[in-house]
Point group: C2
Chain length 260, copies 2
């Protein structure tokens, strides 16, 4: 069977002009754009980003809104995916090209990953293309003005809501640590950073590049602002910078954080 082509298209971190030329071109030319929604009542974040750059639908393009509730409960997410795969499958089997959009990059903590993993099993031989995008861990260093890595430096990207006990080992091995999903564990995280002597070298960013972007350097001031639902858009960057480049001494490490 000749299936339509499947695209996983990253639309970047939040600002429509951080989309790639390729993402815009693909979304303007496919037969179907799949727009994932986390709730019936909120507009899709990915489409809020992509819509302005992509513009009105060309004739014959379908924009298919599907529901993926934000939950880890397999009893809820399982049936949602069953419906989604059937809807998407109908279009692919009809020879239509389908682009599934995601915030950030499609290969990094995205809803698309499940579709990507299922595709070859369900539609054998299907052509799949992933359009990479600017990801939150790339945008955060830009918005706070602090280089992520240089010289011999190592970078770790860690979902902080699991395995907090490994953080000291990770801080010892890495120069820059980007902690994702921090909102629900801020009290514990601030304690760990304080014990490790890294509180001054940590910066909190939420909604990087989006409207409402916040950059906070005094982490103690937000230690008790728990926010279980805003994880997706919050990150803490910790920069030790022990191994920066030949032109910089150790003393310069972290200076950008201190002044930004």
């Amino acid at each position: 069977m000749q299936y339509g082509k499947l695209y996983g298209v990253g639309v970047g971190t939040g600002s429509p002009d951080l989309m790639t030329l390729r993402a815009v071109q693909v979304l303007q030319s496919v037969d179907v754009i799949v727009i994932p929604n986390s709730s019936k009542y909120l507009r899709s974040v990915a489409w809020r980003i992509a819509g302005p750059a992509v513009g009105p639908a060309p004739e014959n393009q379908e924009r298919l809104n599907l529901l993926f509730p934000m939950t880890k409960d397999p009893e809820i997410i399982g049936p949602a995916w069953a419906t989604a795969l059937e809807e998407i499958g109908q279009r692919l089997e009809g020879g239509k090209s389908v682009a599934f959009i995601t915030e950030g990059d499609p290969m990094f903590f995205s809803t698309y990953i499940y579709l990507h993993r299922e595709a070859q099993a369900r539609w054998p031989g299907i052509e799949v293309e992933v359009v990479p995008a600017v990801s939150s861990y790339t945008a955060v260093p830009s918005v706070i003005g602090s280089p992520k890595a240089d010289g011999q430096e190592r970078v770790a990207v860690v979902p902080a809501s699991y395995g907090l006990e490994d953080l000291p080992a990770i801080f010892a091995l890495f120069d820059t640590v980007l902690l994702m999903k921090v909102s629900s564990i801020m009290p514990e995280l601030v304690d760990i950073l304080e014990r490790e002597g890294l509180l001054e070298r940590a910066v909190y960013v939420s909604k990087a590049t989006m409207e409402g972007q916040k950059i906070i350097t005094d982490l103690k001031s937000i230690k008790n602002d728990k926010c279980d639902k805003c994880d997706y858009f919050s990150m803490v960057m910790v920069k030790r910078g022990k191994r920066s480049g030949v032109l910089f001494g150790e003393s310069k490490a972290g200076e950008a954080l201190a002044t930004s």
Copy 2:
């Protein structure tokens, strides 16, 4: 003094259409584009990427080629930077906006980082904007079709040419490890991967998204292809995937690598 605005603009990993809309817009509107060249005899890689998307220079736009030899010798790189900072400074002091372009993302192992760090000291109060871009560690998972992280997974990005002895500890703590600058240490790296039982879970990619892109799954076949000068464009991705999402069992980890 009112300086012109300084931009660090990432042009992405190699394919011109992976530039962001913002990068193109900035490069089409600034007074000066600084184009870094690693040699007098080769065209700038960053400009080979950006040129096609940016197009011919608008009237009054200067395209300033500067030389940054690819070396760690401070006796060579120091004077090159002195010249570059003087040339760039003249334009900024004249109120001109200047965009310095880099392959990949400006905050990640780029020539721009040194300029970024020097800017506030040399031109106090200068406005600086960094335009983030698709980086090699983002593009590689897309081109090999293997998700970088999902669920509880952790990602490490490590320049492999330093501290190889730390790799076993890093493999134990992380699910996906992206090893950069691998070309000069392939024999040692293949030995380590074999000892760790990770050879089957490693993929080599060079020139991701560029013309001449190579994806090699049998790392032993290139173990002895040392290439000291092509480091910038080569990477090995190792995926253990122990902590993938709620919808995937452990057994599925790494399957995308095995089939791609």
